[in-house]
């Protein structure tokens, strides 16, 4: 296991390197630059700014400089938010996005699995249909519709919750977390239901039932664990995505997370900021996929990494 883990982490380095390279050159290809504005800068000042941020050097030099910088974990100054470095911005934004993401993920996982399993046990009965219809709605209502509806109802009409803004308090967190969690609950419920039904029809479940094991134990001990495998594979990338923030939710609830930096950074041609969030996102994806694989081994006794791969 340790050997496998080390190998996986080592293989992350070329992946990240490729990601950085592609992202670095792609954002530079986009027309327009970070200091373009409707008020044209005098050419001398533009030249000075370019020199200050090394934008006047050949692209390859800039690239090498950048690699050297990130090797020291310095993402450089933000070109747009001039008073802050990319490290500052990410360190301020990431905890917010992580908090929201983890809460939404936890809620989605608990509710989604419960609902999905419950529906699977009532396959093709009214309860199943009702729950799965809700799930379908959850998936199909986009969060830019859901969020304003929640605000309208809970903040403006009822006045129970604030309409937006960010503090680490339950009242400010609940609406964005719910908005983020709803579609995930729906996905997880559908995946759980499907895989649960499949497991319940498998021969080993028939065997344990035939042996007379109580139904409760059949479900909890033997059916649920393998049924979770597809949920786990969905969770890997989903966790990375949700923890890097949602542009829509951040905009509508005015939350200072890092999701907006993807879009805002690209629109402002804030090269360093875009790179910073892309790298963070890449690292999270790699990390979560790795965790998912480890969880697989734990959930499914048939999976052994080191033995299998050593033989190959």
């Amino acid at each position: 296991m340790l050997k496998y883990s080390l190998r996986r982490l080592a293989s992350a380095i070329p992946t990240l390197f490729l990601l950085i390279t592609v992202a670095f050159f792609l954002i530079r290809i986009a027309p327009g630059g970070p200091f373009d504005s409707e008020r044209a800068l005098p050419p001398e000042i533009e030249a000075n700014l370019a020199a200050k941020y090394h934008l006047d050097e050949p692209l390859v030099f800039q690239y090498a400089r950048y690699l050297w910088q990130i090797a020291r974990l310095d993402f450089g100054p933000s070109f747009h938010y001039r008073d802050w470095t990319v490290n500052d911005l990410i360190l301020q934004g990431a905890p917010v996005s992580f908090t929201l993401g983890i809460l939404a993920l936890a809620i989605a996982l608990v509710v989604g699995v419960l609902v999905g399993a419950w529906a699977a046990l009532r396959q093709n009965r009214p309860g199943d249909y009702a729950v799965m219809s809700f799930a379908m709605i959850g998936i199909s209502i986009p969060n830019f519709v859901m969020a304003p509806l929640l605000i309208l109802l809970f903040a403006i009409t009822l006045g129970w919750l604030p309409a937006g803004g960010w503090e680490y308090t339950p009242s400010r967190t609940v609406l964005p977390v719910v908005t983020l969690a709803l579609p995930m609950i729906a996905y997880i419920a559908r995946i759980t239901r499907g895989s649960m039904i499949e497991v319940l029809h498998s021969s080993y479940i028939r065997t344990v039932r035939a042996k007379g094991m109580p139904e409760k134990e059949v479900i909890l001990r033997h059916a649920l664990k393998p049924a979770l495998l597809p949920v786990i594979s969905y969770l890997g990338p989903a966790a990375a995505a949700i923890m890097t923030g949602s542009v829509v939710v951040e905009r509508i609830f005015t939350i200072p997370g890092i999701g907006t930096y993807f879009v805002q950074g690209a629109l402002n041609r804030d090269y360093t900021l875009v790179m910073g969030v892309v790298i963070l996102y890449g690292m999270l994806i790699i990390l979560f996929n790795f965790l998912v694989d480890l969880l697989y081994a734990w959930l499914d006794p048939r999976i052994h990494y080191d033995d299998g791969e050593a033989e190959a």
């Binding site: 986009a30 027309p31 327009g32 630059g33 373009d36 504005s37 409707e38 008020r39 044209a40 800068l41 005098p42 050419p43 001398e44 000042i45 000075n48 700014l49 200050k52 747009h80 938010y81 001039r82 008073d83 802050w84 500052d88 911005l89 301020q92 934004g93 009214p126 249909y129 009702a130 219809s133 809700f134 379908m136 709605i137 209502i141 519709v145 304003p148 509806l149 605000i151 309208l152 109802l153 903040a155 403006i156 009409t157 006045g159 604030p162 309409a163 937006g164 803004g165 960010w166 951040e250 905009r251 509508i252 609830f253 005015t254 200072p256 907006t260 805002q264 629109l267 402002n268 041609r269």
Partner: protein, 570 residues
């Protein structure tokens, strides 16, 4: 059977979710508070008994500021905050009049080239240190120093040697500013600049505190480090969350500052800001959602404030390329074929004023030239447009095909669609609409290689017609039309050096006339300032520059509070 019930359920659910459309049917908001009648004391200050107990102002403020360094800052949201934090030699009254700021009075030499400012001896930085003429000298040198990268450094261009320092020919020490004493600051100008006092309200001309810069470098604007000389000081800054200012007790006029704390909230989305206002979280919004006019008018009329802004929405032509190079008649035809009133009444809908001029009204000393066709009926304009279109060599069988470019935005799209339809209907022009992301759009406009007709807009930087006219100097960086008329350039240079106000005004009118007659621009309407303001917030006034200093404002009790005898609402 089951299926039927299911789809019924689905349909009801979907209907239930879709019902509260954000427009007319939305539930009425909690009623806006009705403010108490304000009484004033002999000095014109509101009496303490009408003032709300909590003087905390919540201001929506557009996008997150790029920086709070007054010399590097750009954009309206940044300037709004900087005007509260800092103070220039002059400042503005609520109605926009230029009044003494850090300087209590000044002398202007007879030739208009030497300004001597006498600083308020009570002027203090937020750390209690006195604000001196040396601070201004050092700060202005920093602005013109090309290594500073001041976005608005050109604001100081009228000062002696500024241009040469920008381009690196002279050192910043050569700038025409001197500290005659601790409290008198002298400025030498190259040309008499009648709007110079107005420039001094701009953040680029504000002083910065040298020791803080020397100690903290680029971190000098962080809360705790920033030292400012205005009515407020910076106490908290959470990026994209809030910027909090507290009253600066050392401010020279601190006794008259009533609002204790201002919280600026950045908003990336106008609907979000609108929701926050409706929920009672804001006293002041940066803008209002464009699509909500009728709802706002019928539900929040007391809070909806619309007033003219010093800006013009226009289109322009790339004069360096086909089809608009040497095609005066064609440009005029396109100009006349646009029915401005339809656009302002059906599309923009916030009472924008349709126009054929470039320079907005509201300047105290500018009587704009009115083009002949402005007085015609739209039918007459369209007849003339058709005649000119044929004269330019186009017809139904040989229509003009043109690209109309705008930056991606719902409003710009609607206006461009309307204009394309008008061109089509009146002249048979085939328009291809192209929308581009803002930076791509700016670059294409500036390069003048692919553009034909394009959207533009300009909000004046200072209260003078020159801020609009100078854009079309052949050497100006934002002359995206590529207008190059030596007579016009000469006119601008004469305006810059003219000392007699009446003559200068006539030259400016003449310059605008030349631009309009040459059909360089297709003006559509003047911008309007549109925002929601809590009726309890008072002390502000409308002004075309849209400058609103928090230090003039105060919150009064609502009538409900008075009935409850001081019982707090919260």
């Amino acid at each position: 059977m089951k299926r039927g019930a299911l789809s019924l359920l689905l349909a009801t659910l979907l209907a239930a979710c879709g019902a509260p459309a954000p427009d007319e049917d939305a539930p009425r908001p909690p009623r806006l508070p009705v403010p108490m009648e304000v009484a004033f004391d002999d000095d014109g200050r509101p009496l303490p008994e009408v003032l709300a107990d909590e003087q905390v102002l919540y201001r929506g403020n557009g996008e997150e500021p790029q920086t709070l360094d007054p010399h590097l800052g750009e954009g309206v949201p940044t300037a709004n905050i900087l005007r509260d934090l800092f103070e220039g030699l002059t400042t503005t009254a609520p109605d926009g009049r230029i009044v003494p700021g850090a300087a209590i009075h000044w002398d202007i030499s007879r030739d208009g080239l030497t300004y001597t400012f006498f600083l308020d001896p009570d002027g203090r930085w937020s750390n209690g240190e006195p604000v001196t003429a040396h601070d201004f000298v050092w700060s202005w040198r920093r602005v013109v120093d090309p290594t500073t990268g001041a976005a608005y450094g050109r604001m100081l261009a009228p000062v002696v040697n500024a241009e040469a320092i920008f381009s690196g020919e002279l050192s910043p020490e050569e700038l025409g500013v001197t500290a005659l004493s601790d409290t008198s600051f002298q400025v030498q100008l190259d040309d008499p600049t009648p709007y110079f006092l107005g420039l001094l309200t701009h953040p680029t001309t504000y002083p910065v505190f040298r020791p803080a810069l020397e100690e903290h470098g680029s971190m000098h604007v962080r809360p705790g480090n920033l030292v400012s000389n205005g009515a407020y000081r910076l106490t908290d800054w959470q990026v994209r969350s809030r910027i909090v200012l507290e009253r600066n007790e050392h401010f020279r006029d601190a006794d008259n500052v009533i609002i204790e704390r201002v919280v600026f909230y950045p908003f990336e989305d106008e609907n979000t800001e609108f929701n926050r206002f409706r929920a009672g979280d804001l006293h002041w919004t940066y803008q209002v959602p464009s699509a909500q006019f009728s709802w706002l008018k019928s539900n929040m009329d007391e809070a909806l404030k619309i007033s003219p802004w010093f800006g013009t929405y226009f289109f322009s032509f790339n004069l360096t390329r086909e089809p608009f190079e040497d095609s005066l008649a064609l440009r005029q035809a396109l100009n006349l074929a646009v029915d401005r009133e339809i656009i302002t009444e059906r599309v923009t809908r916030f009472g924008e004023m349709p126009t054929f001029n470039l320079v907005p009204p509201g300047l105290p000393d500018y009587e704009p030239y009115e083009p002949e066709h402005a007085a015609w009926t739209q039918a007459e304009r369209e007849d003339e447009a058709r005649r000119l279109y044929r004269q330019a060599g186009y017809s139904e069988s040989q229509p003009l095909t043109v690209e109309l470019r705008y930056n991606t935005s719902e409003n710009h799209r609607k206006i461009a669609v309307a204009i394309a339809a008008m061109w089509k209907q009146t002249l048979g022009v085939r328009t291809r609409l192209i929308n581009e992301e803002f930076r791509v759009f700016l670059q294409n406009r500036a390069q003048r290689r692919v553009t034909q007709a394009f959207r533009a807009g300009w909000i004046g930087d200072y209260m003078d017609a020159f801020t609009f006219l100078e854009l079309f100097h052949s050497g100006h960086g934002r002359n995206d039309a590529g207008y190059s008329n030596p007579r016009f350039d000469r006119l601008l240079e004469r305006i810059a050096s003219e000392r007699i106000p009446a003559k200068r005004r006539n030259l400016m009118v003449e310059a605008e006339r030349m631009l309009l007659d040459d059909q360089v621009v297709l003006p559509v309407f003047y911008y309007m300032i549109r925002r929601l303001i809590d009726p309890r917030l008072q002390g502000w006034d409308e002004n075309i520059m849209d400058y609103h200093l928090t230090r003039h404002m105060y919150l009064v009790k609502s009538q409900a509070e008075e009935v409850h005898d001081g019982e707090s609402e919260e």
